[in-house]
Amino acid sequence: MLISLNWIKKYVDIDIENDKLVELIGARLVEVEEAIDQTHKYDNIFAVEVKYCEAIEGTHLHLCKIDDGGKAKDVERDENGYVQVMCGAPNVHEGMFAAWIAPGAIVPQTYRDDEPFVIGMRKMLKKYDSYGMMAGADELDLGDDHSGIVELNPEGIKPGDDFAKLFELDDIILDIENKSLTHRPDTFGIIGFAREVAGILDKPFKTPEWLDLANTTAKNDKATKLDIEIADQTLCPRYTALVLDMNSESKKQYLSLQDTLLARSGMRPIDPIVDATNYLMLLTGQPLHAFDYDKFTEVGGAKTPKIIVRAAKKGEKLELLDGKEIELIESDIVITSNDKPVALAGAMGGKNTEIDANTKRVILESATFSLFNLRKTQMSHGIFSEAITRFTKGQPAGQTLPVALEFAKMLANFELVATFDEYPGGYEPERVTVSLDRINNLLGTNYSAAKIEKTLQNVEFATKLTKDEITVTVPYWRTDIHIPEDVIEEVGRLNGFDNIAPVLPLHATSDPNKMLQLKTRIRNNLSARGANEVLTYSFVHGDLMQKVGQDPKNAYRIVNSISPDLQYIRQSILPSLLDKSYGNLRAGYEKFALFEMNQVYTRTADVDEDGVPNTNYQLAFLFVDQKSSSNYYLAKKYLAQLLEAFGIAFRLEPFKATKDAQFAYYEPKRSASIYAGDQCIGHLGEVKASVSRGFKLPQSTAGFELSLDSLVALAQDVQLKDRRISQYPSVSRDITLELPLDRNYAEIEQSLRQILADAGLIYKLVPTSIYRPDGADAKKLSFHIDFAHPDKTMTKAEIQAIMEKLEQTK
């Protein structure tokens, strides 16, 4: 939204620097994206009188001599002091006043370009000197019209007047980020914005009298008939219509201040009626629409116009002003002439009732509509006009009549003949009472009753003060004020939240979050062992699930996903890691480990007491090695040390698939389920050959997954692990046991440990190799063992006894 500061200044005295003002607006109302400085945009542009004008035969050019009041420098002048300028516009004529861009000045149209165009002296038709240029509305950046040059009203101006001064163009334009004003329809008009500026500057604001509800009532002219029927007042709380008759031909159009204000607000002058509706919309936030009365009546087929406002019917069609025919949807609101659609309410008028050069009688609509319906209209038909932008903020019903009546005063050649106003709900001002203590207690301020009252009065709240409380009557344009906190916000905001001292409160200490602590420890543990933590999307493609053997039916499906790649909520994390591995292999990493900790939701899991799916925290770890044919033991090594680090006793059992195929990608013959007590806390193993092939990964790619919910319950903060060392000499031995091929390793290791523990020894046991000689039907397990007694030096015999026991293990 573009706001002219000069326009604002018509309603409020601003006595601080522009920079400071922009800063205050940003801090107390809304973000100013940019303050566009136009104070020099129209420098060296003058009002000039065309003293002599001669058409040059065979060309479209005129040779003109202009009186610039002697203002321009570095120009050649004739004996009368006039400057020669060639002009191609068909409307140039002797005696007219035009806007002349003097040599050396920037053409305003190019003012914001990287290289603005500076006009100079040009030689035309090889012989005529032409100084500067007489400008059209487009070159002045005041309109789109390129059909001729701008003509100025000669009344009250003299040659050489500064063009900028005449039209108050030395302006700053504020580009406002209006997304954060969605709840403030009043600030979408200059008057409302100016009111806020006054409040920010601690100045009382006075709304123009014509916008005061007390001054406006509808007067129906009995002779002119018009019926308004609102089918549903939630769709249209108020509908005001004026009938205006043309009483004289329109006068010659000169450039006006109003034209330049429209241009500075990002709109364009079009014709007197449309311009007046746009001007008032920019000024008050209230969009207006003009229908051709005769066309309107004809479409309806009745003698007198009958306006019916109702919800659109499915399949109804309407040709809009821009020539597009749209098919209406049921949430659209339509204006109809005797039930025949003539306008898409709030969005755009219809072609069949458009005003044109022959319009003699006008129906002016000033109404309010349901912002919720209009938001849908906006989205479904893709209409983002200035009008609907304002309507979708919920313009107050109070202003429809005052703004319409102001419109009637603006057109020189139309007069008001009748006023109709349908306002079934009527208006009752809202009152809010808030205690003064609560204001200060919530903000952390010490504002006096008088200061609070003045702050609110500045922006035209009527106030009533008692000893402890203030009661405000909410002005009709403040549709956002309903509860005490809304009033508190006004007091804090208008006085500046930045003026409130930041103070730390005192409160108790906090408890650690065990899940977060666990994840941090895992993160540190695995990354310290060369693994890389990754984050991947919670959403996956249905194909990915099928590729790993999961059933998409068990996954939550996103109905409005951005792409099929993100259509399902993943059932486990490992498939995402499988999916991301090939890219890393291709990038030249031959051996790496990825891990991720995140939440997982499946349709097969339970819901919590709120009926929301339970959250499962999971850790997934994947080891990829281009060159190795067996990564199971690598993944197992990472797993074992991790669980040991948390003091979790675990054992590996043959892989057991879950019923819902959540972990269907593990190769059962080369995988295990991880147990702590009788609780399965995760899975470890190589993925199926078909899976690794599907992801273009080495066949023995392996990983593990752990339920972090289980881990957080099992992990010990204080570990009861024996970390004593003996003061007595320790014995270091290697042993090798020969065992049948199918003998389970863990049982052997457990037996060895048991022997050492039973003897009360402090020991360390490390497997060193598992060897099967060629063709043998036995394997050899080798261990390195260090042990010592905690209380004495062991004798040879004692050592011998222990070694014998160890060596007999089978």
């Binding site: 508190i488 409130i500 108790a508 993160r523 996103i558 990038a587 080369r670 050959a689």
Partner: protein
């Protein structure tokens, strides 16, 4: 592969060959019968090919050698070794979340993680969103078939946190909780927009807290985070669940290349709307509070001068190794 499987696959392949021969007869058929014949043959062919694929997969799986799941290494294999430590890395977003939550903990805040799938009530209703608030439209949030929502902000946890910690108020203490988590917006991906990102929420309620306290806590947080004194500024904002609502800014710290007068919008905040407290069973006439929420991704981008958010969820080692231990 066992001989049974081998012969099964061989027989299937023979059938396929036979089928191809029959298929050649299509040219002898009258034109009007060709389409149906072709269709039928094609179906048969597809079926046999699927059977071959299944048999081959089964055979491949039958070939898999079982291993001793309890052993430390393969038979005759080498003892596995960890990767070298300097190869490893923690994800920068997670490191940042750890850093952020550690500061909040030191400031007396409990930490509750945000969930990644929630419902309409927690995401919108309990936060005083009007029924037709535009953010409810499909344009911003993802939805599952069941109507669940991968949350678009960590505020989805506010109602739960207020309920869970309400007992603190009865004990005469304050509710002080920070809520980090992963959130989702239905947005197209580019260098500055991710549909998946991280936020951290703060919730504070007591009998006496003020908007001044909120500014105090937020300034303290960012001063601890950047390790220096900071100038702060605010701007009015609008959120359905706070009243007043503000945007909170800090003067860009020198350590990340800030200059004087250069402000960064860090988060949205405000005094918790009385309806939000009411819906959590807290009496808004007795207690009030404030809440805030801001992005974590942006903090990381600023800290490491990153210019593309898409790196975060791409799992590329080239990027991750920049954050090696």
């Amino acid at each position: 592969m066992s001989s049974v499987e081998e012969s099964k696959i061989a027989s299937l392949k023979a059938q396929l060959k036979q089928l191809n021969t029959e298929y050649a007869k299509i040219k002898d058929l009258p034109a009007e019968k060709r389409a149906d014949f072709g269709k039928e043959m094609n179906q048969k062919k597809q079926q046999i090919m699927a059977e071959i694929a299944a048999a081959e997969a089964a055979a491949a799986e039958a070939d898999v050698e079982a291993l001793d799941i309890t052993a430390p290494c393969d038979l005759n294999g080498e003892m596995p070794e960890f990767l070298t430590a300097d190869f490893g890395s923690r994800h920068p977003l997670m490191t940042e979340l750890d850093r952020v939550t550690a500061i909040y903990q030191s400031m007396g805040f409990d930490i509750v993680e945000s969930r990644q799938l929630d419902d309409e009530y927690h995401m919108f209703d309990s936060l005083n969103f009007a029924k037709a608030h535009p953010a409810r439209d499909n344009f911003d949030t993802f939805r599952t078939e069941e109507g669940f929502i991968p949350p678009a902000h960590t505020s989805t946890m506010q109602n739960r946190v207020l309920k869970a910690y309400k007992h603190k108020l009865d004990e005469g203490q304050a509710i002080a909780v920070a809520v980090p988590g992963r959130v989702y917006r239905n947005e197209d991906l580019d260098a500055t927009h991710e549909h998946t990102f991280y936020q951290c929420e703060g919730v504070y309620v007591s009998e006496t807290c003020t908007l001044g306290n909120m500014l105090g806590i937020l300034r303290e947080f960012f001063e601890k985070y950047y390790g220096q004194k900071l100038n702060i500024a605010t701007q009015p904002g609008y959120f359905p669940f706070t009243e007043p609502s503000l945007e909170f800014k800090i003067e860009k710290p020198a350590c990340i290349g800030g200059k004087k007068g250069d402000f960064l919008e860090m988060l949205g905040c405000g005094m918790i709307h009385p309806n939000v407290l009411k819906m959590a069973g807290i009496d808004p006439t007795k207690y009030h509070g404030f809440a805030w929420g801001g992005g974590i991704d942006r903090l990381v981008m600023l800290r490491y001068q990153l210019d593309d958010v898409r790196h975060f969820e791409a799992a590329k080692l080239d990027f991750l190794k920049e954050f090696s231990c």
